[in-house]
Subunit: 505 residues, 2 copies
């Protein structure tokens, strides 16, 4: 008996394959821009990027898409679909409903403005010129507020933004979670500052051959299980990972001659993102369920590899001798334990991306609170520098000397990425909670790491998290894997134990 | 007074900008595939390439395009358009008329088959298996014959194919031109073989550091006037040049450790193509008149730089000392004159891409005659190896030992590029004719080259040829620049004079 809905299903699948092809092209164009596209081609390239993004957006919000989702959502069809198919229709429906009333013309105008604004931000940061940047940022915020109208406000307008990066995450939940986290991390950071024994870091300040750094980075990626037949490593100003299709997930890094750890930890970080995209089940590629399920879960993978594995004592017990072999002059006389302590130095600092594992979360909470004020409490863009500096004083006890070291430091807002920052701390919290379960299920974890056997970690993550792609929501994954909802105590426990040890408290 | 047709003109321009954006994305996807895309991503990538190509094809043949061309072709509008605008409408009309009856579905099927066939050819060439490849090639030929039906047969079916690469070129003209060329080149090659003094080439067979080769190649490209802010140099198995947009024209090369000249001449060759695309007037970008006017004129630029400049005595009088500096061990004791003679050694060989400047044309004429038989005279694909070998015996006096060295050597037919080969010899003929005029207008040309002042050459070519893009046809350009139509005697004269000197005849 032929299924009544098989023709609709084929058209539904074909539409998503086409959207996925547009996204692949857009991804490659963007990758290319950041890894060496000639500068005279950038203007035309931006136009091409805008055109292809808009075509994908049009398909996603097309009348045909609306009709297909409606047809496939009918109860008589739904009962014949399998669970995965129902999830695909549901996910497509969510995207469609969110965007259907947003005019493609406004979307395109916004895309162009965001590209301009990002380039204005670069200049503003260079020249410490918040006043010159403010009109652009204000227009971006106005656009976002207008779009929230089209997308539909959830509990609060800012909830709508959070949901785009972390489905179903709410201000109510984050407020509570961040409050619990702050209550434990602020005193911990203070204790460390006042009574901790600072690790020695003098041996970190040397020169390191870039060719040797690249070799070591490739070695570490191979150890993690990154598949070089389904990816490649390049250089860019800011490191990133990007999945073009299920067999092509690229990462970049950035080498600093006087800072060997920067490229090492960025390789572990981007490698964690890449392992996620490389290990999603192939059958999900080109469907509404392809890609990672949320920015928070994605970030849990990068931070788990960068910090919880890569900044662990066990890791350097095993891999410091390889680093020594790459840099015998610099590290010949250094002990693995000293290196471990040095890469875990805690310091209250102005710049988020240079922050340590502990205070990093405070940088995030500051941004979260400011974004909430901007969208829910009427804070104006003009007031940003003042509120920024006040929050840094409150949470970290330091006052940025200028806006370059303050409100102008991050690219995110210039490109309209409001609601994104929370993902970083969510990633830390998810990662700590996953690690807690992983340790219970693999009691010999540290020993495996010390033996240089990282494969079981990759396999555990793949089996429990990665392969599902978007077919489960973050809140479902965390409960299925760890047996309970998001709980910030795992991160606080982990940080407390680790840093009391490192700082000999 | 507002123009009646301004709205149609805006829509016409917008359509071509969109087509041009699709082409830019397709170009980058193809560039990436050849310069290091991970192999597990190739399958999905092919689908993306096919989708974007088809979208561009659909726009080119859309009902909207048809209506706009019709509206803009009305006599009342035509008389208000400027000459460039009339040419744009004319060129768009030609493409539209050619393709409007070709069903997009058949175009897509053909695109997929051509990709498969190209990969089958790779295996067939490796295994010397023409029989296994024959069914694919036969289907490609059948497709082309079907498409000629849609495109409309010109004087003969094969004329339709020629016209796609060289607008307005005909079998009648090429027959005559090639006959005149053969009549002079075959005896010349024979005289050289029988009585010429072969140049010494022993010093060419050494090992050459690839890093040094790259440095020398970059230096030569810079000398030619290649703009590195509007391009980049990468490595690929087969060298190529590709224009993504008017500020992004990339080239690739391929380094052989035991063959220093391969990368040098491929850089000059692809550099010549790239100078064309980099120097087309910016206003033509994104219009129907963007890009080079024909494959033959394009090839005239690559061959002019590779052979007529790059294999000239004047060039090596100037640049051999730089080559020596890059390879002092290998070339310290070699004279510039000896090197000049060595890179101009003539030899009857089986492989087109390894052929010298003189016999190269005979390789092309063989392919031209075979293609003509295939499309105009009922030759079947099965008969190809036999006829191929017979022609090599006739024109070059040698018999390929197997099909790898014979009919399977070129990629072109596997991808459906019939009618393309003639462009290579057309390029040689155009180039010789352009050079003849350039020498008349710049009597001190050799001296400029000996001084390493190549800028006037690039400027002359830009002024006379490059900047026009597709706004003039090949037959118009050759007459405007040289004062007469295509004349094969310039190439024959040049080759005769050069090789009688090199071979001391």
């Amino acid at each position: 008996m032929e299924k009544q809905w098989s023709e609709e299903w084929s058209r539904f699948e074909a539409l998503f394959r086409q959207i996925s092809s547009y996204n692949e092209a857009v991804g490659l164009l963007a990758w290319d821009l950041r890894t060496g596209a000639p500068k005279k081609g950038v203007a035309s390239r931006s136009e091409t990027l805008g055109m292809l993004s808009t075509e994908a957006f049009k398909l996603l919000t097309s009348a045909e898409m609306g009709e297909l989702i409606q047809a496939l959502s009918a109860p008589s069809v739904q009962e014949q679909l399998n669970e995965l198919q129902r999830r695909m229709v549901q996910e497509a429906g969510k995207e469609y409903d969110r965007n259907k009333s947003l005019p493609a013309e406004r979307f395109k105008e916004y895309t162009v403005l965001a590209a301009q604004s990002e380039s204005m931000w670069e200049d503003a940061k260079k020249n410490d010129d918040f006043v010159g940047f403010e009109p652009y940022l204000s227009r971006i915020v106005e656009f976002k507020k207008e779009f929230i109208g089209y997308w539909g406000a959830k509990q609060t307008p800012y909830d709508t933004l959070l949901d785009m990066y972390e489905p179903d995450m709410t201000v109510a939940e984050l407020d509570e979670v961040f409050q619990r986290l702050t209550a434990r991390l602020v005193p911990l950071a203070q204790t460390i500052r006042e009574r901790g024994k600072q690790p020695e870091t003098a041996f970190m300040h040397q020169l390191f051959d870039v060719g040797q750094q690249e070799k070591f980075g490739l070695f570490i990626l191979e150890q993690m299980g990154y598949d070089f037949e389904a990816g490649r490593l390049d250089e860019s100003v800011h490191p990133f990972a990007i999945g073009l299709n299920n067999g092509d997930v690229r990462i970049t890094t950035h080498y600093l001659q006087d800072e060997v750890t920067s490229a090492v930890f960025s390789s572990l970080h981007e490698g964690g993102h890449a392992l996620y995209e490389q290990n999603i089940e192939a059958a999900l590629h080109g469907t509404p369920l392809s890609g990672g399920t949320s920015m928070g879960i994605h970030e849990s993978q990068s931070r788990l590899w960068e910090n919880m594995i890569g900044r662990s004592r066990a890791f350097w017990k095993r891999y410091f001798r390889d680093l020594q072999q790459h840099f015998p002059q610099q590290f010949g006389d250094v002990e693995a334990e000293a290196f471990y302590r040095a890469v875990n130095r805690v310091e209250n600092s102005f710049i988020r991306i240079e922050a340590d594992e502990l205070t990093y979360n405070l940088h995030i909470i500051i941004r979260y609170e400011i974004e909430k004020m901007l969208f829910n409490e009427g804070l104006s863009v003009k007031e940003l520098p003042e509120i920024w500096n006040a929050k840094y004083k409150e949470y970290l006890g330091i006052m940025p000397p200028d806006d370059r070291m303050g409100v102008l430091q991050d690219v995110h807002w210039s490109g309209g990425d409001f609601g994104y920052f929370a993902s970083y701390s969510l990633g830390n919290m998810y990662a700590a909670q996953f690690m807690h379960t992983m340790r219970k299920e693999m009691p010999d974890l540290d020993q495996l790491i010390e033996e240089g056997n990282l494969t079981p970690i990759k396999e555990w993550l793949t089996d429990k998290i990665l392969r599902y792609g978007k077919s489960e929501k973050p809140s479902e994954i965390i409960v299925r894997v760890t047996g309970e909802p998001l709980n910030p105590d795992y991160l606080a426990d982990y940080l407390e134990a680790k840093y009391k040890d490192v700082y000999q408290l």
